[in-house]
Amino acid sequence: MRAARIVAVGAIAGLVIVLVLSFRYDPHDIRSAAVGKPAPAFALPALEGGGTVELASYRGKVVVVNFWASWCIPCKQEHGALASAWSRYRTADVVLIGILYQDDPDAGREFMRRLGGGWPTAIDGDGRVALGFGVFGIPETFFISPDGVIAGRHIGPIDEETLVAGIEAIRIRAVGR
């Protein structure tokens, strides 16, 4: 009887612990397995002007990779923040790379012409680069440190404050090394 009671109390206590831990975790908060790992190398066709956009050519700089599409409304919402960050950092050791994902290149070019931009943008035609980064849905933004490691990720439309915080966190770490 005593053993059964101990087992029952243990089972209930275990259940309570599991529930408490589970309720603290948001099931919609998807953790990226890519953060902390080297960014997948890519060399993709550029959206404008021909040529390729190659991640390796930006080694030694802070790289912000933003996955987007012209049909994605939140991508339109965040475009102003990306443009502000680009004009703020374009002369510094920071690069913004846009990656057009699951979209028609012509629609992507029209989007950039209409909303403005100017940062390097590439076409991920078969989605391999997005799959390599572990993209769930667009827009999604990755912060890559100068040593090529993914330092952070933001799901959904990003604002300027988050962009600056992500970039500055990497720059501070890079200076500290």
Binding site: A34, Q102, D126, G132, F136
Partner: protein, 153 residues
């Protein structure tokens, strides 16, 4: 043994061999392998759908990648690992039986084992009222005397 019987015996042996060879597990073809791996992968933009079952563009791109890796001769494990590197264990519909996710597999077994232990302990315990001590010779004598006197009445 007649020639007819020998021919019959040979025919039976040949048939048995043909059945045995035919029943051998055949290595899965590329399409079957792609389907099997895609069925194990979770579609990132769906709610609980596998990459095989989802009609989404992302799932199609994942299936294409699986098919390419199969054509390249990669093992199933290597293909699964490629997706795990990007999406973590989350991308597997059946979590691996190691680390924390191993608890999901181990817990039901532990609970059943615990239940058996408790049930076994309960069965071993003597049931009913506690055993009564055997009557002393004096008590027996008194009882016999009482029965005899009641019979005499």
């Amino acid at each position: 043994m007649s020639a007819r019987r020998v021919a019959l015996a040979l025919a039976v042996v040949a048939l048995a061999l043909a059945v045995a060879i035919g029943a051998r597990p055949q290595p899965a073809g590329d399409t079957e392998r792609v389907d099997a791996i895609a069925a194990e992968l979770r579609c990132p933009v769906c709610q609980g759908l596998s990459v095989r079952d989802s009609p989404s563009e992302t799932a199609r791109q994942m299936r294409d990648l699986v098919a390419q890796r199969v054509r390249e001769g990669r093992s199933d494990e290597a293909i699964r690992d490629e997706f795990r590197r990007s999406y973590g264990d989350w991308v597997l519909l059946a979590p691996p039986a190691t680390g924390w996710t191993g608890l999901i597999w181990a817990l039901p077994i532990l609970l059943v084992a615990g239940g058996f232990l408790v049930a076994g302990g309960a069965l071993r315990r003597p049931t009913g009222t506690a055993a009564t001590p055997a009557p002393t010779p004096a008590q027996l004598a008194a009882l016999r005397e009482r029965v005899a006197s009641e019979d005499a009445e």
